[in-house]
């Protein structure tokens, strides 16, 4: 059958379900879509799969307010009732924020994303980590300034390659309630894990990052 509609389902990911990784989350969604009985389209071929695309992978442990799925459908659906139907079938922590119709043909958001914003909360970090001393807001701001003053910052990426990430960082700002806001450029779909950036910025060990809360806030098209 041919798809007659395409929709974007926007959702957030919060709480313990942060610990369900990207691939597992895809399967969790597939099952939820099936339980919700949405008329999803399947790909042709030997092993038909649900025709859709997911927002770029979110690192394990990150919360997000910006995830989405773009889904092809064999039948037109009623948007408002479908939101409810799908929400009923989702595990706790996954919340449908919105569903909107998309043109049937057209590029996926995935290729339009230029920048991702993250909110990084340090409150728990200073409460629980083993980092000695009480940092002040000014300390952090100082560290951010030093960090941004550098022209090159080489970090090791997932594949073990040394990459200069400085050009990827649009801004880092200290905001209220111990939040850092990070704007990170996406280059060729390459999404550098902010955890490594924050680790270097704060100058701490990986284990100390356990209590830093990372939230993906937004995908930007500029």
């Amino acid at each position: 059958m041919n798809s007659v509609q395409r929709v974007r389902i926007e959702y957030s990911k919060k709480g313990p379900i942060r610990y369900i990784g990207h691939l597992d989350l895809i399967h969790t969604f597939f099952r939820a879509l099936k339980r919700a009985n949405l008329p999803v389209s399947y790909t042709q071929g030997f092993n038909p799969r649900i025709k859709c695309s997911f927002s770029p992978a979110l690192p394990l442990g990150f919360a997000s307010e910006a995830e989405y799925i773009e889904l092809y459908l064999d039948k037109k659906i009623d948007i408002s009732s479908s939101i409810g139907n799908l929400q009923k079938e989702l595990p706790q922590g996954l919340t449908v924020r919105d569903m909107e119709k998309l043109p049937l043909f057209g590029k996926s958001n995935n290729v339009k994303i230029k920048t991702v914003t993250y909110r990084i909360n340090l409150q728990q970090f200073f409460g629980k980590s083993t980092v000695p001393g009480q940092a002040s807001k000014e300390d952090i701001e100082g560290k951010i300034r030093n960090f941004l003053d550098k022209e090159e910052i080489f970090l090791i990426n997932k594949k073990g390659r040394r990459v200069n990430i400085r050009p990827l960082i649009l801004s880092i700002e200290m905001e209220k309630d111990w939040n850092i806001r990070l704007l990170l450029k996406v280059r060729g779909g390459f999404n550098f894990n902010p955890r490594i950036i924050i680790k270097t910025l704060l100058g701490v060990e990986k284990k100390d990052l356990a209590f830093v809360e990372f939230t993906r806030e937004k995908f930007l098209f500029w």
Binding site: P16, K34, G93
Partner: protein, 572 residues
């Protein structure tokens, strides 16, 4: 445990998804309102435990009761174990995050002997004394079921009661008995005391090992099993349920992380119509019973909806023997195929009929094809009851090749009774012959040492010597034109000790666990030298249990446990 405590741990463990307890269809019941709280435990990692159908069935049965709740726990990974110990956090259930100690009943499933150290480790992590006699009424009742209960004696000192056979009905009888006694006894002694254990022992299929005393002869064999008191059964018969009416979960748990069998399980048949003489499974799960087709289609319809799975496995020991399996698969595909649901068939017999079915359901790309001829020569196959000729096997393989398979998995056993060099050569000849016919066909071959298991025709026979097994395995690995995977022969040896041994092995088990043994089923964790040391520290000779040919008059550690139903048919 407070939920925030878990959240402080999760960032530090690998695969934190294992410990969330947020699976789809998970049941969170009101703790205070349940009279009987059961925690079901699979003593290995989450990915294996969640794939087990038996626990899903029990979980559903117990949670359907108004008066009870069932939660789950699996063997924690080594990383989280260390954190729990460091911070003094007792092992907790996945659903309510309550310590295991707060439950009324802990039910273990014993899928294989190499999981026994994990059972002890879990009790220890839960701050529960290992030995039954060191646990007073403040501790939960500890029960165990599953295939290894065919000879549970090595665990006799640790487990309060074993359950033989199908668990669907007996679990409710245990809960009822527990309820009766927990209200009658003072709270401090709510579940122990001889009266309660005797009441448990009266339930058919329940074996309370502490009510029996084993006396040994000078040569180390059993003199007799003495019952401590009246009204204790001399022989315990395993339970058998009627599959036409027995409970089946309609909303099984769906994991949010990948597990080893990540699909809907539809048990179409229990037991096996074949009687391969080496096979313990057909004894443990028998007699062969089928779940009616109409009921299966109903279950499939409801549970596919409740889970959202797109694949369903028709499970049994030999699914292609389900009467009318062809029509069943046809009907199944008519009903659900258009909804993009596929079927998989485990355990195919190496015959043409089975292969035709495999072709029909078209799982070529997804799953490989696995056959278990078990022995290389026709003579030996005939002896062990695997009745398939070289010719039929070869033509089945040809048919598979023509249907598009390029990789076939084969299982063979070594050290089978009466096995000669010729039979080992026959394995090589068989595979070479198949390779010659089909150059592009590849084989993955698994070589497993034969362990003569309790309640099978071969139970009195010794296992072949380790040195010989090693030699045969190495020889086959070198000579077979295939990818060869061999079981660690030492781990098969240990499996033999614990499946054929008696209560005295409890000491060794505890010693080995103290010395750090756990997850023995896993190659990377199995440490045979430590086990050897544990045996010698306890002055127990493992060879006694493994290499000794037993006399037909000998009282076996499992002689009082009846799995066949007809004592005389045992040696048929």
């Amino acid at each position: 445990m407070e939920k925030t405590v878990l959240e402080d741990i999760l960032p530090f463990v690998s695969k934190p998804g294992r410990y969330l307890g947020n699976e789809w269809n998970v049941i969170h019941k009101d703790w205070e309102r349940a009279q009987v709280k059961v925690v079901l435990c699979y003593p290995d990692i989450y990915e294996l435990g969640m794939s087990n159908l038996g626990l899903q069935i029990l979980y559903s049965i117990i949670n359907q009761r108004q008066d009870s709740l069932a939660e789950r726990v699996y063997a924690p990974g080594l990383d989280i174990e260390e954190i729990l110990k460091d911070r003094g956090i007792p092992l907790f259930s996945l659903e309510s995050k309550k310590p295991l100690k707060d439950f009324d009943i802990i039910g273990f499933t014993l899928q294989h002997e190499l999981s026994y150290t994990n059972v002890l480790n879990i009790l220890n992590l839960a701050n529960i004394p290992l030995r039954s006699r060191n646990r007073n009424g403040k501790f939960p009742l500890i029960i165990a079921g599953g295939p290894s209960v065919s000879n549970p004696e090595p665990l006799a000192d640790f487990i309060d009661a074993f359950v033989l056979g199908d668990g669907e009905e007996v679990i409710e009888e245990i809960i009822e008995t527990y309820k009766k006694w927990s209200s009658r006894l003072q709270s401090a002694f709510r579940n122990k005391g001889n009266g309660f254990l005797k009441a448990l022992a009266k339930i058919p299929g329940v074996y309370v090992p502490s009510l029996y005393e084993v006396n040994y002869k000078e040569d180390g064999t059993i003199q007799r099993m003495e019952r401590k008191g009246d009204g204790i059964p001399e022989r315990i018969d395993k339970r058998v349920v009627d599959l036409e009416t027995s409970h089946y979960p309609l909303a099984p748990l769906v994991p949010l992380i990948d597990i080893s069998q990540n699909r809907l399980n539809l048990e179409i048949q229990r037991g096996c119509p074949h009687s391969c003489r080496f096979c313990q499974s057909q004894v443990v799960y028998g007699p062969c019973r089928v779940r009616p087709k109409k009921r299966l289609l109903e279950i499939a319809e409801v549970s596919l909806k409740s889970t959202g799975y797109d694949e369903m496995s028709l499970t049994s020991l030999s699914s292609t023997d389900y009467p009318g399996i062809e029509e069943f698969i046809g009907e199944f595909l008519d009903c659900f195929g258009k909804n993009h649901t596929s079927i998989s068939l485990p355990s195919l017999r190496p015959d043409k009929f089975s292969l035709a079915l495999a072709i029909r359901i078209r799982k070529i790309r997804k799953t490989g094809l696995t056959f278990a001829p078990e022995a290389g020569s026709e003579r030996l196959r005939k002896l062990i009851g695997k009745k398939i000729s070289d010719e039929e096997f070869a033509s089945t393989i040809s048919q598979a090749y023509n249907a598009g398979w390029r990789l076939v998995k084969l299982y063979f056993m070594i050290g089978l009774p009466t096995e000669e060099e010729e039979d080992i050569e026959a394995i090589i000849r068989l595979v070479k012959e198949l390779k010659k016919r089909h150059k592009n066909l590849n084989f993955n071959i698994t070589i497993a040492p034969f362990v003569p298991k309790p309640h099978t025709s071969f139970q009195l026979l010794p296992m072949e010597k380790l040195t010989e097994l090693r030699r045969k395995k190495d020889y086959l690995s070198r000579r077979l034109p295939a990818q060869v995977k061999g079981h660690i022969v030492e781990s098969s040896f240990l499996e033999a000790v614990f499946s054929r041994g008696d209560r005295r092995l409890g000491m060794v088990l505890e010693k080995a666990w103290e010395m750090g043994c756990k997850f023995d089923q896993w190659k990377e964790h199995f440490r045979f030298p430590v086990w050897q040391e544990a045996f010698s520290k306890c002055s127990i000779d493992p060879d006694f249990y493994v290499y000794r040919k037993r006399d037909s008059e000998e009282i076996l550690p499992w002689s009082h446990l009846e799995f066949w139903g007809h004592p005389n048919s045992r040696m048929a």
